[in-house]
């Protein structure tokens, strides 16, 4: 790392370190439940782990997350593929889907709760709705944006429509699909947290935040924030990395421009 970069890194760390130091010094003199020392937050995390409370929350939240993602991404991919391949279907359904997308997801929560109860299902459906749109839009865009030149190459070699889809359309759309999955994953995590916070008594990770809030214990709340933040970061990291393995190496080389549909 060049000296300039090292200097920049150092500069970047100043504010967090400063913040931490001020916090620690403040709590040295004024200890209160509302503003505990940073160490207490870490302790709280540890405690959650040791009492096996964290594992329970983790399993519940992750279960909802994965099922929601599965449902949302598979549907999104299927519909995106269909709308991308058929102009007819696209004309009928895409404008409506776009409109639907603009309705804030949290607005659906009361409705979903009535329909699907307070168990996992309502949350899974909400997460699925959140994961659905990025994949849908990106898959659709990716398929529509296959360069006509490549399609002609398929023609020249006498590929059937299905063969052409498999060997040319899909690989060409892959950068877009990749963006879609990464967006889905991150947004899905945000929706998971939202769904749990906005429907109380749920057994997921957000319970940590709720409990902390009710008992006015910032250390617990902080613990919750740290855990959620770390997991969010981990998923994002995983998603990006997953797309860089061996045969997909070429994806990281930016062949086309800007692959993101929001």
């Amino acid at each position: 790392m060049s000296t300039r970069k090292k200097l920049d890194l150092a500069k970047g760390l100043v504010i967090p370190v400063l913040f931490l130091s001020v916090w620690i010094l403040w709590t040295r003199s004024h200890e209160s439940l509302l503003i505990p020392s940073p160490w207490k937050s870490v302790l709280a995390t540890k405690q959650l782990w040791e009492t096996h409370a964290l594992q329970g929350y983790l399993v519940t939240s992750l279960r909802r997350y994965f099922f929601g993602l599965l449902l949302g991404t598979s549907l999104g991919f299927a519909v995106g593929g269909l709308l991308g391949s058929s102009r007819w279907l696209e004309r009928f359904f895409l404008p409506n889907l776009n409109m639907f997308r603009q309705v804030p997801l949290v607005g659906w929560i009361p409705l979903l709760v009535i329909w699907f109860g307070m168990e996992d299902l309502s949350r899974v459906v909400l997460i699925a709705m959140g994961a659905f749109f990025p994949i849908l839009l990106n898959t659709h865009a990716g398929i529509r944006r296959v360069p006509a030149g490549y399609l002609e190459v398929g023609d020249v070699f006498g590929l059937s429509r299905w063969e052409r889809f498999q060997r040319i359309v899909l690989p060409s759309a892959l950068p877009w699909i990749r963006s879609g999955t990464i967006l889905s994953l991150t947004f899905g995590w945000t929706i998971l947290v939202a769904s749990e916070l906005l429907t109380q008594a749920n057994g997921g990770l957000s319970d940590i935040l709720d409990v902390g809030r009710e008992r006015f214990r910032l250390d617990t709340v902080n613990a919750g924030i740290i855990i959620l933040g770390l997991l969010g970061f981990a998923f994002n990291f995983l998603a990006t990395r997953l797309w860089s393995i061996g045969p997909l190496r070429w994806l990281s080389q930016n062949i086309h421009n800007s692959h993101e549909a929001r």
């Binding site: 970047g12 504010i15 967090p16 409506n96 409109m99 603009q102 949290v106 607005g107 935040l209």
Partner: protein, 254 residues
């Protein structure tokens, strides 16, 4: 004319079909009315609420919160985004901090806001502001940054001072990105308002929906969903239209 038919008619027919299904399910009790209230009853409820002023009050509160929170959050986002975009030093000092906070899912901040500010207006506004802060920040900084490298040299070649460069070159070129950020964050702000109201409030559409749900008044919930949806679509359309008018060449899709 033929083109209009092609673009408007198909989606509209789908909407019509959905509406028809909704109406028929109510008429023939295909779905229990406790789960899906037919459109005519919903309309009755809307009219009721309008005449008692209930509708306007709640919507008014929600809109007020969105407006204020959005202004604060976007304002801060633009300010910091511009700073980080222009000054490499600012980017160095603030970059890491901003990146760390970006990782936390935005809704996780809500409990903390409530802890600090109570179930008062302040906590809701703070939450909304935090929610719309990031998209605006990211897009603004990116917009300013991408301008810098190319056009600043033109300004320098003409011997313009730093402030003039900023005003006459950077600002106009960065506006498209800023608008993109603003459009993304209004959606988020609206979500934040509804969430805050769902959590703990005494007014607003979110509050109304929770209250209706607890009283098993499905029609109220549906009215709420429709209102939330309508406002979401409207604000998006407004900002989208603004974006298309000011900057018809955006790179974004949909």
């Amino acid at each position: 004319m033929k083109r209009l038919f092609r673009t408007i008619l198909p989606p509209f027919s789908v909407q019509l079909a959905v509406f028809l299904a909704w109406y028929l399910s109510g008429k023939y009790e295909l779905v229990p009315t406790t789960l899906l209230v037919p459109p005519d009853r919903v309309w009755e409820t809307v009219k009721d609420m309008w005449s008692t002023g209930e509708f306007q009050t709640h919507v008014g509160w929600s809109l007020r919160r969105v407006g204020l929170g959005y202004l604060i959050g976007s304002g801060a986002g633009i300010a910091l985004g511009a700073a980080v975009g222009i000054s490499r030093r600012a980017q160095a000092w603030l970059g890491t901090t901003l990146d760390i906070f970006k990782q936390v899912p935005v809704f996780a901040w809500a409990p903390m806001m409530i802890l600090f500010f109570g179930i008062q207006e302040a906590s809701k506004l703070a939450f909304v502001a935090v929610a719309c802060f990031y998209p605006v920040l990211l897009n603004t900084s990116q917009g300013v940054l991408s301008v810098q490298s190319r056009h600043r040299e033109v300004g320098e070649a003409f011997g313009l001072s730093r402030t003039r460069i900023f005003l006459r070159i950077v600002v106009p070129s960065a506006i498209p990105s800023v608008l993109v950020g603003l459009r993304q964050s209004i959606a988020l702000a609206w979500m934040a308002v509804v969430s805050a109201e769902l959590l703990g409030a005494e007014s607003g559409i979110g509050y109304f929906m929770t209250y209706s749900r607890l009283l098993f008044q499905m029609d109220g919930v549906i009215v709420g969903v429709l209102a939330v949806g309508a406002i979401g679509i409207l604000t998006n359309a407004l900002l989208g239209g603004l974006e298309r008018w000011l900057v018809p060449w955006t790179k974004e899709v949909a």
